[in-house]
Subunit: 327 residues, 2 copies
């Protein structure tokens, strides 16, 4: 295993500390239990948005803490759910009368721990579960996984909360956005979890993993290496079947890198995905390309399509000031 | 070779097209010869800042075109200098009476082609050569290479030009900034140039390349894998010897990923580099962490230290609106 690392035990703490130092103007790191909150608290009465999940997906979620997006994020160990005490401590630190909205990627561990925290919390709270990964069937036993679309939910609900939407409105909006997003990913390589020390699955030199998640698990199928155009046809085809955007439908097209894929290739994927929907008359009015929801050192990417309307567009465009999203 | 690619011949065009589509609000892509310019031209009389170089280092330079930074960028083929006709076409498109400042990384091909363009240009022009890579000795035959510090020169001179500094002032400022920057990189893997189809150098499972450039060339030395702390001691030590920052000296600390290194590891490197200079009483007042000057799919990073003063700090902080730097 070749990584920049001192020891497996210190990796997360040292990395979080570096993150907090590099962005000391935006965030504050709390220890025992660990969470990241805004340096400048939101105005009293605003709904407090809290997310979290296993580490290894940076900048998700810590990079999205700040004005216009999250109030706090709880990083678990690598690919491991944060614990309820982290969520409780974060909620107690940032709740200011408007209640708490948890935004949770749909994984068994995350769901369970956020539910425990929600039950223990002595203030109004709601939870939005994100389940945008269409590589799994809709009726999958534990539901679909939350992947790169989580950022879109966090950005749009974050903007609404900042504008004064109340808890019920934020919860309804989060559910609505989750229903209008579909993502699917492909991996050219596995990732290496430091504690494991070797790739979590093996791929031949001419194989890729289609419909892959973000935790180093196997995807929907292992297929032969194909051209970027063929890969995009496959991913975009599944997404299109799910969302069925009509001609003229405004959408946000997000191409997300898994951590080890260079920007040059991500822009190539963006070009091909844009052509796919432009051919169908879909109005790609917003874009986001880069490494936002990663899977350690995995080479690969996902495509996320989000259906927009005037209200969602205006919230997507609203000011945001975080370590990893600005505008 | 596993990459997202349709064909070696179309890769750059398709990627540039995706970049231009994703950032159509900020940039405009011109073909034959290829260059990227601002969507909204700068105000007449402003010094026109133009950079460029081989592709494969994205977001450098195309991601830095926009208000507060570059007026245009000329992308060459992968790891290959752009041609003088690209620079001439870019200059003719964006020059508006204030003259042209070329910002050029110090590589023989880039230097030669920008010099040819400068000679053919029928307006006032100057060139700043960036040579921040301290892994080579100061008296190296062709001078030191320009690497991640180039971004700092482009940002600071870009801000000055936007504020109305004239050509001579921009040239002097660029030279001054170049003299106050030192960078050094380390690679955990080589990179794979698509046309070559295999890594440009081989590294054992327990080897890393210290003092590496950004074109897949061998570095200063191949050494055994060491801890992140030892790597940072080495890189920061060479940089510190060069710049000799005094106690209380304000600096910008930039940790740059080469393309395949996850953010979690880059923040770990930032933490260790910050500790290195904090111990010495240096005032790390600004930071930048991420993949900005990459080398295709190379795993690795570089550390760049920039000495600041009040004037440089204010220019670093000035508004910028590009695809890859915002604030």
């Amino acid at each position: 295993m070749k990584k920049f690392i001192n020891s497996i035990d210190s990796l997360l703490d040292e990395s979080l500390s570096g993150f907090a130092k590099a962005h000391a103007d935006i965030v504050q790191l709390h220890a025992e239990p660990h969470f990241v909150s805004r340096k400048t608290p939101a105005k009293p009465g605003k709904v407090a948005l809290i997310s979290g999940g296993g580490s290894g997906h940076e900048p998700l979620h810590i990079g999205f803490v700040g004005s216009g997006m999250l109030d706090a994020a709880c990083p678990g160990q690598i690919f491991t759910s944060p614990t309820p005490d982290q969520m409780l401590a974060a909620a107690q630190a940032v709740e200011s009368g408007g209640g708490v909205l948890f935004i949770v990627k749909n994984y068994a561990g995350d769901v369970m721990n956020f539910e425990i925290a929600a039950e223990m919390l002595d203030c109004a709270n709601e939870t939005v579960f994100v389940s945008d990964d269409v590589s799994l069937p809709k009726d999958h036993s534990t539901g679909r996984r939350g992947v790169a679309g989580t950022l879109v939910v966090e950005k749009i609900v974050g903007a609404a909360a900042e504008k004064g939407a109340d808890l019920a409105a934020c919860k309804a909006l989060g559910d609505r956005v989750n229903g209008a997003i579909a993502s699917m990913g492909v991996a050219l390589s596995s990732c290496t979890v430091p504690a494991l020390g070797k790739p979590t699955f093996e791929l031949g030199d001419d194989e890729i993993e289609m419909g892959v998640g973000i935790h180093g698990e196997h995807g929907r199928e292992t297929v032969k290496l194909m051209t970027a155009a063929e890969i995009v046809e496959h991913l975009a085809g599944v997404i299109d079947d799910e969302l069925k955007p009509q001609k003229g439908q405004p959408v946000l097209l997000h191409v997300n890198g898994f951590g080890a894929t260079p920007l040059m290739e991500l822009y190539l994927i963006y070009e091909l995905a844009a052509r796919f929907w432009q051919k169908r008359g879909v109005d790609i009015c917003r874009s986001l390309v880069g490494n936002y929801t990663t899977s350690l050192d995995m080479a690969g990417c996902s495509i996320t399509l989000s259906l927009l309307d005037d209200a969602l567009l205006s919230l997507w465009d609203a000011p945001v000031h975080t370590a990893s999203l600005h505008g």
